[in-house]
Amino acid sequence: MNEIQERENRIVEEFSLFTDWLDKYEYIIDLGKSVPPLDEKGKSDENLIKGCQSRVWLECGEKDGRLYFKADSDAIITKGIISLLIRVFDGQEPQDILNADLTFLEKIGLKENLSPTRANGLVSMIKQIKMYALAHAAGGTGKKEN
């Protein structure tokens, strides 16, 4: 089992403790609050992923063949879910990131947050993470062109 899968399993285990939605969302909100906000440089237009509902900023760096992510959002629940994604992906190799299926979000009952109709920027963010991974796997940087 690769590390991404292990991290996903641990999150599923943690979430299995919650019996009702209220506790679960309180936890996600706490996670969102605990993520340090991106600085002004990180909140550049280049890093912005625009959704109708909320905005997400994603910054990607590379060190020794592994990718590191920082992200922020103006919506706290979105930010909480982002922190879970970063926990799964941070410090992983591009190829492993590309292979990840992210079924853990469904298992912890947050599937609806990934629906394209929610327009909360999460779907685009995952796409962007994979773009970075794809570009790095091929030797580029994956930065948006605009």
Binding site: W21, L22, Y25, E26, I29, C52, Q53, S54, R55, D74, A75, I76, I77, T78, A119, N120
Partner: protein, 435 residues
């Protein structure tokens, strides 16, 4: 609830002076309306559904659902085309619905009433055909700053093609039109004013009479976006004297994918057709085509004749809930809900209500300091409440009020004061979680 209704009904029956039991009378009237809407009898996330996104689309009453089902299963034949009984029946239902719409908005003749696929399509039709005929380089179309994207983008597109410009009538801080600036907006280059009757974000009844009078004094025609307006107030296009009036079927209890464009005959006759195709023609040869008389000139191709036919039961329903005792109770209920919501939102620390003025329909767009609108909507969803959040297809309105999103709760006559109270309770809970 049933027991309670029976009790209320009895009480009202005995009650001579209705002032004594207005609470029960309202409850009873609203409960009777709710019975017509099967969609309201469901749960969302394990809670009884509280549907407060009516400005986006309304639920459908049984007569509308019944007609659509009856037509799909038994009376399905194309309109205006054939010589057999089924086709006659479809055509009768389709034209019957047009007559119902004509009566509902008091248009002079059936020729003034065109079926479209919605408000957006209606406005696009006018933007395209009117600008094609009357707008030249350097001309101006004035739109109101509270417009939905559907009353902005069609004009930008049409003006772009002609080298014309869009000019904006601004809003005051409370969301009302800044009428002091209207005079400055109007000059000899203005070809048309496109105005929102009630904004889908602010919910204020705009002073259309004054605007239309001013525009007409300069011989400038006015298009009214009535998507929200027609749902909440009686519309008489002749009395209003607008030149075009656009609205959707699905927001006024009818089928989705249906809309109406009312236009004065002079314009509809002079403007070129919008789309070419079946049913909009007189004679076709490869050299030249003549067009069908109004209203078919603008109804190219097979229309959504089943959806369009649903305007009849939908508008009959609206007529029923606006008339007599029921009408009085509904009006009282909406007033009560509006007063309650304005007061309750004001009492929440850090809450901003946009469009907080007197002439308001029960539609409330707000933000709470320290909480993102999307987060609030998501938590309310978990508590069974359907509200809208985001830009609501009106980004310039968001920008005007310095935000990128809002929460919107929009009520219909089938919503109760209890639902409003439940919304406020849940909102307080959500805010507590998010802060």
């Amino acid at each position: 609830m049933k027991l309670f209704t029976t009790f209320a009904a009895n009480l009202c029956f005995l009650c001579v002076n209705r002032k004594h039991c207005s609470y029960f009378c309202i409850m009873n009237a609203i409960e009777n309306i709710r019975k017509l809407f099967p969609a309201l009898e469901q749960e969302m996330n394990g809670k009884k559904l509280v549907y407060l996104d009516n400005a986006a689309t309304s639920q459908k009453p049984l007569p509308v659902i019944g007609l659509i089902e009856r037509m799909n299963s038994g009376i399905n034949a194309n309109v205006h085309r054939a010589m057999y009984r089924l086709s006659d029946e479809t055509t009768a239902l389709y034209e019957g619905a047009r007559e119902e719409v004509r009566k509902f908005i008091n248009a002079p003749e059936r020729e003034n009433v065109i079926f479209t696929s919605g408000t957006t399509a209606s406005i696009n039709l006018v933007a395209t055909c009117f600008c094609e005929r009357y707008v030249n380089e350097g001309d101006v179309i004035v739109i109101t700053a509270d417009s939905h994207h559907s009353n902005i983008v069609p004009w930008q597109l049409a003006c772009g093609r002609k080298g014309a410009h869009v000019r904006i009538l601004p809003l005051k801080d409370n969301g009302e039109w800044d009428m002091d600036q209207l005079q400055d907006m109007i000059d000899r280059r203005v070809r048309l004013v496109a105005a929102t009757q009630i904004s889908n974000v602010l919910g204020l009844i705009n002073p259309l009479d004054e605007l239309i009078l001013t525009a007409h004094r300069h011989d400038i025609p006015v298009l009214v976006d009535g998507a929200q307006g027609v749902v909440h107030m009686p519309v008489d296009v002749q009395e209003m004297d607008c030149d075009f009036y656009a609205f959707s079927g699905h927001k006024i209890y009818g089928a989705t994918g249906t809309g109406i464009l009312y236009g004065k005959k002079k314009w509809l006759e002079e403007m070129p057709p919008y789309m070419g195709g079946g049913d909009m023609v007189g004679t076709v040869t490869f050299e030249r085509t003549t067009y069908a008389p109004l209203p078919l000139k603008y109804e190219a191709g097979t229309p959504d004749f089943i959806g369009a036919s649903s305007f009849k039961p939908a508008l009959e329903f609206v007529g029923n809930i606006r008339e007599g005792e029921t009408g009085k109770e509904v009006a009282r209920s909406e007033k009560e809900i509006t007063e309650y919501m304005r007061r309750a939102l004001r009492e929440i620390d850090g809450c901003i209500l946009y469009g907080d003025a007197e002439n308001k329909i029960p539609l409330f767009s707000f933000n709470v300091e320290g909480c993102h609108a999307g987060d609030i909507a998501q938590l309310l969803d978990k508590m069974g409440i359907a509200v809208r959040s985001g830009m609501m297809c009106a980004e310039p309105v968001m920008t005007r009020f310095g935000t990128t999103s809002m929460v919107r709760a929009s009520f219909a006559p089938y919503n109760t004061l209890q639902e409003a109270q439940y919304l406020i309770d849940c909102l307080k809970k959500a805010v507590k979680m998010l802060r």
